[in-house]
C-alpha cells in the first residue's frame, strides 16, 4: 500500500517536473496535436502513448478506405489545350518545349529500330519506352543536371534529355569496346557518371533504398542537389520500396520518388498488384508529401516534379510523385502483350491519350509545329538512329580479359590465376571461341 502510494506520488512529481519545464504550465485545452510536454501537462485525458498525436474516441470506427481516389493533376487535356493557364509553366521556353518534343520522337524512333534489331538477331534484348516519354522528359527538365538519378529500366528519355548520345545508347546495346559499362550487362542497362545517372540493374526496386542513402549523403554534402528515384507500379510492391520510403522519411532525405504507374508489370495489371489507391496513397502512411499526376501530360509532370524538388530541398524531405501513364509496348522483346490484353485497349493509349500526340497537338495549336516539320523530323530521326546503329554494329567487342576487371578495385590473386588459365585454354582451343570479335 505504501509502495503504491509512493509510486503514484513519484509519478505525479515526475509529471509536475516536466510540466514546470514546459512553457505552457497548466494547459487546459486539448489539441489534436500537441508536443509531448504539452500533452503531459494537459488536464484533458488525451492519449500519451509515444508518438501520440490524436485524441480518444468512444465510438468504434472501422475505417474503410476512401472510395474516391486521389485526383490526377493535369494542365493540358488530351487535345493539347491548356485547361488552366495559371498552372502553365511559363518558365519553359517555347524553343525548349519544341526541343523536348523532337527528342521524344527521337526516343520513340530509336525504340522502334532497336526493337526490330533484336528481332533480327542484331542485339540480344531490348525494352521500349512507348507511351511514357512525357514522364522522362517532363521530370528530367525539372531537375538540375547535378541531381543524382536512379532508374529502373524504362527511363531512357531521362538519359537522352541529359545528353546521352545515340552512340552511347547503341554502344551499350551492342556491348562493344566503346560501351562505358564495358560490355558487362544486357542491353538497356545504361549508366553515366557524367550525366549523374546511376547504372541500371535488373533486380527491381533495389535502387530505391540506395537512392534514399544517396540523398542523405547529398544532404550532408550541402551543395543543394537532390536525388530522383524512378520505379514502376510493380516495383512498388517490393520490400525495398517500403524500406526506401521509410528511411527517406525518418532520416529526412531530399529525394523525389517518381513512380511510373503504367498499368502493368509484364502481364500483371495493377488490379492484381495492389488493392489500395495506387502508390500515391501510400505516401501518407510514411509521412511523405505526395501527388498524383497525368504522366502523359508533359507540363503536369514538369510542374509537379519542379515543386517536388523544391520541397525536397527546402524542407529536406522525400516527396512521392505518382505519374499515371500506360505502357503501350511489350514489357520487353521477351514479351508479347497480345497474350494478356486487347488491341482495343492499347490503341486508346497509342492513338489518343499518348504524350507525343498530345504535345504535338499543343505545338500545332501554338503554331510551333506542322505536318512538314513532323515528316522531316521522322526522316531525320530514322537516319540518325540507323547511322548510329550501323556504326555501333561494326565496332569490336571489348578486350575479352575485361571479364576479370572491376570485380574489385584491383585484381586479387585468384583472378590473376584464372586469367592465366583462360589464356592457356584459349591458346589450345582458340577455334572453338569467338575470339576475333573481341579487341585484342
Amino acid at each position: 500500500m505504501a509502495a503504491s502510494l509512493a509510486r503514484r506520488a513519484a509519478s505525479t512529481l515526475w509529471r509536475n517536473h516536466l510540466c514546470m519545464r514546459s512553457s505552457n504550465f497548466g494547459v487546459h485545452r486539448t489539441s489534436v496535436y500537441l508536443p509531448i510536454q504539452k500533452r503531459l501537462c494537459s488536464t484533458e485525458d488525451i492519449p500519451l502513448f509515444p508518438g501520440s498525436k490524436s485524441s480518444y474516441t468512444s465510438k468504434l470506427n472501422m475505417m474503410r478506405p476512401d472510395e474516391d481516389g486521389i485526383a490526377v493533376y493535369r494542365i493540358m487535356d488530351k487535345s493539347g489545350d491548356i485547361i488552366n493557364k495559371d498552372e502553365f509553366p511559363n518558365d519553359l521556353q517555347q524553343s525548349e518545349i519544341v526541343h523536348m518534343y523532337r527528342n521524344m520522337v527521337l526516343l520513340s524512333t530509336m525504340d522502334k529500330i532497336m526493337y526490330d534489331s533484336q528481332r533480327q538477331g542484331r542485339i540480344s534484348f531490348y525494352m521500349t519506352n512507348y507511351g511514357e516519354e512525357a514522364t522522362h522528359f517532363g521530370s528530367a527538365a525539372a531537375l538540375d543536371a547535378g541531381d543524382l538519378a536512379f532508374g529502373q529500366y524504362r527511363e531512357a528519355g531521362v538519359l537522352l534529355y541529359r545528353g546521352f548520345t545515340l552512340d552511347d545508347f547503341m554502344n551499350q546495346c551492342y556491348a562493344n569496346v566503346l560501351d562505358a559499362g564495358k560490355g558487362k550487362q544486357m542491353p538497356v542497362h545504361y549508366g553515366s557518371r557524367n550525366l549523374n545517372f546511376v547504372t541500371i540493374s535488373s533486380p527491381l526496386a533495389t535502387q530505391m533504398p540506395q537512392a534514399s542513402g544517396a540523398a542523405y549523403a547529398l544532404k550532408r554534402r550541402g551543395d543543394g542537389k537532390c536525388v530522383i528515384c524512378y520505379f514502376g507500379d510493380g516495383a512498388a510492391s517490393e520490400g525495398d520500396a517500403h524500406a526506401a520510403f521509410n528511411f527517406a522519411a525518418t532520416l529526412s532525405a531530399p529525394i523525389i520518388f517518381f513512380c511510373r504507374n503504367n498499368g502493368y508489370a509484364i502481364s500483371t495489371p495493377t488490379s492484381e498488384q495492389y488493392k489500395g489507391d495506387g502508390i500515391a496513397s501510400r505516401g501518407a502512411g510514411y509521412g511523405m508529401v505526395s501527388v498524383r499526376v497525368d504522366g502523359n501530360d508533359i507540363f503536369a509532370v514538369y510542374v509537379a516534379t519542379k515543386e517536388a524538388r523544391r520541397i525536397a530541398l527546402e524542407e529536406n524531405k522525400p516527396v512521392l510523385v505518382e505519374a499515371m501513364t500506360y505502357r503501350v509496348g511489350h514489357h520487353s522483346t521477351s514479351d508479347d502483350w497480345s497474350a494478356y490484353r486487347s488491341a482495343d485497349e492499347v490503341s486508346h493509349w497509342d492513338q489518343i491519350d499518348h504524350p507525343i500526340i498530345r504535345l504535338r497537338l499543343y505545338l500545332q495549336k501554338q503554331g510551333l509545329w506542322n505536318d512538314e516539320l513532323e515528316s522531316q523530323l521522322k526522316k531525320d530521326c530514322r537516319k540518325d538512329v540507323m547511322n548510329a546503329m550501323k556504326k555501333a554494329e561494326k565496332i569490336q567487342k571489348p578486350n575479352l580479359y575485361e571479364i576479370f576487371t572491376d570485380v574489385y578495385d584491383d585484381m586479387p590473386q585468384i583472378l590473376k590465376d584464372q586469367q592465366r588459365q583462360l589464356e592457356e585454354h584459349l591458346h589450345n582451343y582458340k577455334n572453338e571461341y569467338p575470339v576475333d570479335r573481341f579487341q585484342s
Binding site: 540493374s201 533495389t206 533504398p209 534514399s212 544517396a214 524500406a243 526506401a244 586479387p412
Partner: protein, 368 residues
C-alpha cells in the same frame, strides 16, 4: 592469462544475464600484445573487443568527415556497446538509428557509399542479415563490375556480430561467412581479438570494396588486450601463421582460432606433435598461398569452423588444398565443424567444434 571460465563464474554469481561464456565448451582467450602487429613499445589501452571496435570507428569518424554509422539502436551505443559515445561525439546526423529493416540498412548504405560517403552499417545480429542478402549480393558486390567502374560502393562496410555465445540458439549464433564467400566482389573479414579487430576494421572501412566485418560476439567482453592507441591497419587477404609447426596445419578464424591454439598445446602434450595454426582473417578473397605453403610443409590439414560442415567455407579450403597440394598430402583433409543442423539451444556443447573434436581429428590425421 585470462580464463574465460573464471570470468563466467564471477559474473554468474551476481549478474547471470551477462554471462556470455560457452560453459561446457569453454575456451581460453590468450591476449597478444602490440608486437603481434609490429607495434612493440607503442602506447596502448586495455580494451575488450567491443571497445577496440569503438576505438576503430572513433578513428575512422575523426579522420573522415564523410563517415557515418547507422543501424538499429546504434545511437545509444548499440546492443553490444560497440558505438558507445560516438553519437555524442560526432552528432546525430553522423551516428543515427535506422528503422528496423535490414534490407533498408544495406540498401541505404550502398547508396551512401555510391554517393561518396563512408558508410559504416551495423546489422544487429548476423542471423538477421538475410533480408539484406539481395542488396549485398546482387547490388553491393556487383556495383563496380556491372557499371564498368562508373560507380562503386567501396566505401560501404557492414559490421555484424556472429558466432556461438553459449545460449544463442538458432538466431543469435550463426556464422554466415560461407554464403557471402560465394559472391565475388565482396570482402569478408573476421578478427580473432581486439588488437586484430581494430586493425582489420580500419582496413575494411578504408578498403575501396564493400566489406562484411563479422565480429565474434562471445569475445566482445571476454577478450581483453593492451590495444595500441594509434591508427593502424592490418592488411586484408593475408592469413597469419600464429603458431609455427611442422606436423600438421590447423586453419580457423574468429573464436575458433583460440580453440585451435589450445588444441595445438594438447597435441604437443599428449601426442608430441607440432601444429601450425593459421588464422585466415579474410574469408574472401582468401589467402590460399599461405595455407598452400603451410600444407606443402606439413602434409596434413584440419580446417575448423562453427558453421555447418556441408558447404561451409572449410569445403572451399579443402578443395583448393587437395588440388594444389595433392602430392604433399599424407592424409585426407579433415573438417571439424558445426553439425548439419540449425544451431540448437540446449545442445550447443555437442553441436560446436570443441577442442576434443578438433583434437580427435588431429589425432586421426596424424595416425592415418
Amino acid at each position: 592469462m585470462l580464463s574465460v571460465r573464471n570470468i563466467a563464474v564471477k559474473l554468474n554469481t551476481w549478474r547471470p544475464l551477462l554471462s556470455c561464456v560457452r560453459n561446457a565448451s569453454s575456451f581460453v582467450f590468450q591476449p597478444e600484445d602490440a608486437s603481434s602487429v609490429g607495434l612493440q613499445g607503442a602506447e596502448t589501452n586495455k580494451l575488450n573487443l567491443f571497445q577496440s571496435l569503438t576505438n576503430a570507428m572513433d578513428i575512422a569518424m575523426g579522420s573522415d568527415p564523410s563517415a557515418v554509422i547507422f543501424g538499429e539502436d546504434v545511437a545509444f551505443g548499440g546492443v553490444f556497446r560497440c558505438t558507445l559515445g560516438l553519437a555524442d561525439k560526432y552528432g546525430k546526423d553522423r551516428v543515427f538509428n535506422t528503422p528496423l529493416c535490414e534490407q533498408g540498412i544495406a540498401g541505404f548504405g550502398i547508396g551512401l557509399a555510391a554517393a561518396g560517403a563512408t558508410a559504416i552499417a551495423e546489422i544487429q545480429f548476423a542471423d538477421y542479415i538475410f533480408p539484406a542478402f539481395d542488396q549485398i549480393v546482387n547490388e553491393a558486390a556487383k556495383y563496380r563490375y556491372r557499371s564498368g567502374n562508373l560507380f562503386d560502393c567501396g566505401k560501404l562496410t557492414i559490421r555484424t556480430p556472429c558466432g556461438a555465445v553459449g545460449h544463442g540458439a538458432l538466431y543469435h549464433s550463426q556464422s554466415p561467412e560461407a554464403y557471402f564467400a560465394h559472391t565475388p566482389g565482396l570482402k569478408v573479414v573476421i578478427p580473432r581479438s581486439p588488437i586484430q579487430a581494430k586493425g582489420l576494421l580500419l582496413s575494411c572501412i578504408r578498403d575501396p570494396n564493400p566489406a562484411i566485418f563479422l565480429e565474434p560476439k562471445v569475445l566482445y567482453r571476454s577478450a581483453v588486450e593492451e590495444v595500441p592507441v594509434e591508427d593502424y591497419e592490418i592488411p586484408l587477404s593475408k592469413a597469419e601463421v600464429i603458431i609455427k609447426g611442422s606436423d600438421i596445419t590447423l586453419v580457423g578464424w574468429g573464436t575458433q582460432v583460440h580453440i585451435l591454439k589450445e588444441v595445438a598445446n594438447m597435441v604437443k602434450e599428449k601426442l608430441g606433435a607440432s601444429c601450425e595454426v593459421i588464422d585466415l582473417r579474410t574469408i574472401l578473397p582468401w589467402d590460399y598461398e599461405t595455407v598452400v605453403e603451410s600444407v606443402k610443409k606439413t602434409g596434413r590439414l584440419v580446417v575448423s569452423h562453427e558453421a555447418p560442415v556441408t558447404s561451409g567455407f572449410g569445403a572451399e579450403i579443402a578443395s583448393t588444398i587437395q588440388e594444389q597440394c595433392f602430392l604433399s598430402l599424407e592424409s585426407p583433409i579433415q573438417r571439424v565443424c558445426g553439425l548439419d543442423t540449425p544451431f540448437p539451444h540446449i545442445f550447443e556443447p555437442f553441436y560446436i567444434p570443441d577442442k576434443w573434436r578438433c583434437f580427435d581429428a588431429v589425432k586421426k590425421t596424424l595416425e592415418f
